[in-house]
Amino acid sequence: MSTVLATRGVSKYFSGIMALDRVTLEVNAGERVGLIGPNGAGKTTLFNCILGVLPVEVGEVELNGEDITSLPVHHRARKGIGRTFQQIELFADSTVRDHLVIAYRANRPRWAVVHDLLTLGRPRPEEMEASDDVLELLGLQGLADEPVERLSLGQGRLLEVARTLMTNPDVVLLDEPSSGLDRRETAALAETLVEIQAERGFAVLLVEHDIELVSSFTTRSYLLDFGHLLTSGPTEEVMASPEMRAAYLGTAVVA
Amino acid sequence: MPAIRSGRSTVFRLLALLAAMAMLFSACGNSDDGDDASPTTAATDNGDEGDEGAAGGAEIGSAVIGEGPHGEFESIEGVPGVTDEEIHVALLSTGDANPIGYCLLQCQADGIQAYFDWRNAQGGIHGRQLVLDVIDDEFANNQLRAAEIIDGGEHFAVIGSPIMGTGFIDLTDAGVPVFASAVQSDMANGVNNMYTPVGTVCITCPAKRNIWPVKDSGASKVGILGFGIAQASKDCVAGQKASFDKWGGPQGIEAVYVNDDLPYGLPNGVGPEVSAMKRAGVDFIMTCLDQNSVKTIEEELSRQDMGDVPLVLPNAYGDEEYLTQNAELLEGDYIGLMYRPLEANQAGTDLEALVEQMSAAGSAINDWAIISWINADQLFRGLLAAGPQFDQQKVVDSINSFTATTSGGLTHAIDWTRQHNAITPDDLVTNAPAQECFAYVQVQDGKAVLMGDADKPHFCWDPADEDWKEPVPTSFAAE
């Protein structure tokens, strides 16, 4: 199995405070990997380092074997990293279709000006097709022309996923997708994720607090706490490990 | 959804609608008046009658005009600004919106009004009274106001020296006679219906008058200062420098410090510049700056122990407040005038009338007022010479036939057959007046004191003379 995404010894400091300490992890092609740990462990920080939002002074980030540590965010995105956000990030004043179209176009640079003049800025047929496919995949068909302000939180999260799919990513970073969703919505989300991952075959690195979602969706997991990688392995094993208990529940002994 | 406040948007919509409609209706309204009236409508044949007018006209330029009545009344149709009772003249200049703070509009209006009052009291011209309409171009709207004047057809001529005369070109193109000042020389060059007090001036040309005050003060090392941002200022510096380069040597005078790059407003002060002048041994300073900047320089000179160095001051003539408030700083400074100073003997010139009229009106008698009086006089003489069936073209032709007009003894003799074109640095003679004259006063104890002979206050040079000589004291008063 080839390694799609890898971080090698990534450390991150904020004004002397250490947020990540020599974190090394790997995600292989088509794999679903979990990244768990208590709040403040540094999971989102690691995502930001992988994507390039935060600069990395120590360590490397590799994508498909290529060192991308010094590339800007949009280059990394074009090379195959997708990401969703813990606090949902949608484009205001746009419709669902607009989101998908712009993600599509951003990754396939062409003589945009000429095309724009010919189509007067409206989406082109192949864009319509691709976005329709993705919408169907995520169960959002029928919402194509809705302004995103009208979507529910769950729909919005699915739209974020749909948006990344339009860029044909090799690996998708999912940042707490179930945050703010109730049990029913989370279950539906889990189901959808499994389907589309099976269909499109991208790798997933999932940050989550919902234990059920992590257990059902991921095969392998990493445990992060205070910026340190405590343990890793098959997800059930990590869940049952003493490090896991210590990280989430503490080590105090109750007499 | 939070409620959107409604008030302002409705108001704006209403305003927008009203604006659009007002625009349409105003446009409809104006078109009736102005549409076909082109300023030079008088269909009289210029050919034959022009000769007669011209012959009489040339004399009128230099004649002493008596008490009146002036001209004859005849009915005229279709001449803009002319009715059976009145001739309307526009003053187009800049009022309070003037960033430099000079008194332009008001002072120019005062000068013209004084002249009009004088002539009107004598019966007016061609049986009509001269009426002045004051139009403020508010600094930015000169071209628009000019367009209104052209369209309106209610003004015969335009007098004025605004800060930016962008509309003057349109006015002259439309055949309106325009009377401006030396500031508009660039615009007036070669334009046969635009007049300035002493003929079109060449700012970049060397001028003999610049040598005189330096010699008078006994100085030998001259500093010249101008702004970098204003082309007029740079041209002025160039002209001054050329004067000393050409004629300074034999007089033992040299321009040792030339700076035409001062930043406008002098935000950083002039400390280093004055220090540099001190090091160069400057003992006289020529300025191409405004009054306020000169004050700053004087203060810095005083600070660096150069308070005795004389300057030539811009435009400050007649500004009593400026002179008295800054008496110490300005002590020993010179002011140059292209007209006869008030401090000279006024008999035999129109200065007497000028002083009388302006004092009666309570107006300040300063540089702009006097220049505007001269403008008004030029127009008047043109009207007189053009005869009772006058129009704009005839007046222009008349003035252009004057070969030696002095505006009532106020200036040296101007030859309008040649002096619409300015002299050039290569040819200082062809378009020069017969005598190039200038007057100087000096500030002493906060007052202007005449330099030279009170009866012959003009210092005159012969333009054809290659070398600089002591000027000939001259008077242009009537004998």
Partner: protein, 687 residues
């Protein structure tokens, strides 16, 4: 040996000569930093506040005969803090959660409005020859020479001492007292401060009073350095002060002080020594001519671009910001509901044009042509600010590039003027693109400041170059184009041509907005991080927007000067005016092309139609019936539009979109009501 000593003395003397102007810069810089630290607002209007106190001081001292000390107390200790209270209560308190760019626009509006308001209310008109004086008696004439090298006047010494005391005192205030900490806390998170039992409103009011007091103090102290009482001087000095403040990354008072003093000294040193080197090395002459006036702006630009850590976004990262309800978003592309309305607008516009073409006389034709040209310029603002979300304060410079290109190529070189317009547009586009590339790492406010620095640089250095501004603009007569047999010398014909150009540009803006780059820009505006995460390159999109914006501004500038027949840089394109353009466009709606066009109409016609009272003459049927308080001073234009920016901060979509949104909300409500009524009818129950 003697030479060496004299150079050292000269050096020392130059340093001393730089202190008085440096103190001025330092005072304003300190005040500016103080405002920023205590209120979080990038207060451009600091200079205007200083001007207001200065005017009151002179009015009281000179005209009302109060004497300097009572006048100083009135203007600095009473009026200035009161003004601060008023600004905080009426304006800035409501902008705490507004994005920093909105607050910048509001402060720009106040910069424009306050001087005009003060001038009118106090009936103030500057007089040539009488210069501002200071607070101490004989301030200008009594001098002290502590080093025996260069004497300082009393005014200057007082100012320097006050600056030193201020910087030390304020630094101590922030370091050692809870007051400073409280103010900073309120800036960062008003809600959290309140949760800790401190009234954010009270602290905020106090902060504004303090910084406004300092503005008044600075205003009165620096007045003697200026040769005139012009509000312009106080505006120009803001740019230099920002350069000094930027040295301290906007938050360090000692660095602001040092930066200001340093600037003054550096300028004095360069003024002293560069001419000497030019005497020896003649090739330095162009450097000398251009370096001196450009030093503050080059410093500012350099600091912004090269100092790291300045790129950190200005604006609060308030953890409790999410508590506010989300701001209402109004669609920036008018959807199908507006079809009929759009058509109606087009018909109205064409109708107006037709009437003007056939009926208007020269004056109105000229005016409307100017409005059309300004419309093209304003479209550039729609692109760069409305679409790309950047505040560019150098649109005047771009427009001037177009104007000068037409003059140089069209008149001086005899090229076809329309071709010259296009070339001018291309040049401006290139300049804009280069500028944008240089600034691509910067966030909103710094882009604004950098563009302002560029505008001033253009104004101070580039305009006077003979290959740009030319040597004799006075007699210039820019020819009108000739296409085939149509001669556009006829003003009405040229108006039509201008309208066609405007229509093409508006269409271009519309297409650009709906096209790929437009979509990318909107995505970046919606969520920059998400946009980047799908592969959108922010710098490329913004460079494209800047380039188009430069092109449009230049085309508008070119058309403007062809219409007028000459280039009038001083009344058409100076930096202050470009500021005002932004404000007018923002008031009417910066996100749609129609906003720009309406704004241009208002900008040009406002004076003639409203300020002159002509509209009342029409309503009341007769010019004689115009109420006597007309014509209003042109200042009112600045006041009304300047204050209008306050409206902008609450409704960034602008007036036009606001009414469009209300219309849609109304129709939706009607539809909803209809549903209720229908279903009630069906169910047989009352609605």
């Amino acid at each position: 040996m003697i030479l060496a000593v004299s150079v050292v003395t000269d050096f020392f003397q130059a340093v001393l000569q730089g202190v008085p102007p440096g103190t001025v810069y330092a005072l304003v810089a300190i005040g500016f930093v103080l405002t920023y630290k205590t209120s979080g607002v990038f207060n451009f209007a600091f200079g205007a506040q200083a001007f207001a106190s200065m005017v009151l001081f002179h009015k009281a001292a000179d005209e009302w005969g109060w004497g300097t000390v009572p006048a100083a107390i009135l203007s600095v200790l009473i009026f200035a803090p009161l003004l601060g209270f008023l600004l905080e209560w009426a304006v800035f308190r409501h902008l705490r959660t507004a994005p920093p760019l909105s607050t910048l626009v509001v402060s720009l509006g106040l910069t424009v409005a306050i001087p005009s308001l003060v001038t009118i209310l106090l009936d103030f008109s500057p007089k040539s020859g009488s210069s501002p004086h200071g607070v101490v008696p004989d301030g200008r004439t009594v001098r002290y020479d502590p080093f025996g090298v260069y004497p300082f006047s009393r005014d200057e010494l007082v100012a320097t001492i006050v600056a030193i005391v201020a910087v030390l005192g304020l630094a101590a205030l922030f370091r050692f007292t809870p007051v400073g900490l409280m103010m900073k806390a309120v800036v960062e998170s008003p809600r959290m401060t309140e949760l800790n039992g401190i009234s954010a409103d009270r602290v905020s009011a106090g902060a504004w009073a303090l910084s406004s007091f300092f503005a008044g103090l600075a205003g009165v102290l620096i007045a003697p350095r200026f040769t005139t009482f012009s509000a312009n001087e106080y505006f120009n000095i803001m740019v230099i002060a920002i350069a000094a403040a930027a040295v301290g990354k906007l938050v360090s008072l000692p660095w602001a002080f040092g930066g200001g003093l340093g600037l003054g000294v550096v300028i004095a040193l360069v003024s002293t020594f560069l001419p000497r080197w030019t005497d020896e090395f003649a090739w330095l002459k162009p450097v000398q001519e251009n370096v001196l006036p450009s030093i503050p702006f080059v410093v500012l630009f350099g600091v912004i671009v090269f100092v790291p850590g300045l790129r950190k976004a200005i604006g609060s990262s308030d953890p409790l910001a999410g508590v506010d309800p989300p701001r209402q978003n109004v669609a920036s592309v008018i959807t199908s509901a507006g079809w009929m309305f759009l058509a109606l607008k087009a018909v109205l516009l064409l109708g107006a044009v037709a009437v003007v073409y056939t009926q208007a006389d020269r004056t109105w034709t000229l005016l409307v042509t100017q409005a059309v040209a300004m419309g093209i310029i304003f479209l550039s603002i729609t692109i760069i600010t409305g679409l790309a979300g950047q505040i560019s304060l150098c649109q005047g410079a771009f427009a001037a590039i177009g104007a000068f290109a037409v003059y140089q190529l069209g008149e001086v070189r005899g090229m076809s003027v329309l071709v010259a317009v296009v070339i001018g547009g291309a040049i401006a586009a290139a300049v804009a693109a280069a500028l944008s590339l240089t600034l691509r790492q910067l966030t909103g406010i710094w882009v604004a400041i950098a563009t302002l620095a560029f505008a001033f640089f253009f104004d101070a250095v580039l305009v006077k170059q003979s290959w740009i501004g030319g040597d004799s603009l006075a007699r210039s007569r820019i020819p009108r184009p000739v296409i085939g047999t149509i001669d556009f010398q006829d003003d009405s014909n040229f108006l039509l041509l201008a309208v066609i150009v405007l229509a093409v540009c508006a269409l271009g803006v519309y297409l650009f907005s709906r096209g790929t780059t437009g979509r990318k820009l909107r995505a970046l505006g919606g969520s920059e991080i998400a946009a980047r995460s799908v592969g959108i390159s922010p710098s490329r999109a913004r460079v494209a927007a800047f380039a188009l914006s430069g092109f449009l501004a230049a085309v508008g500038g070119g058309m403007l000067v062809i219409g007028q027949g000459s280039v009038n840089y001083g009344t058409s394109f100076v930096p202050f005016l470009a500021l005002f353009w932004l404000i007018v466009v923002v008031t009417f709606g910066v996100r749609q092309p129609s906003g720009a066009i309406v704004a241009a109409a208002f900008f040009i016609l406002f004076e003639s139609v409203f300020l002159k009272g002509e509209i009342f003459g029409w309503i009341l049927r007769g010019e004689d019936n115009i109420p006597s308080f007309f014509p209003l001073a042109p200042d009112w234009r600045y006041i009304l539009f300047g204050l209008g920016t306050i409206q902008y901060a609450r409704h960034p979509e602008g007036v036009l979109a606001m009414s469009a949104a209300k219309r849609r909300a109304r129709s939706e409500r009607r539809a909803a009501d209809k549903v209720v009524v229908d279903s009630a009818a069906e169910l047989g129950t009352p609605a």
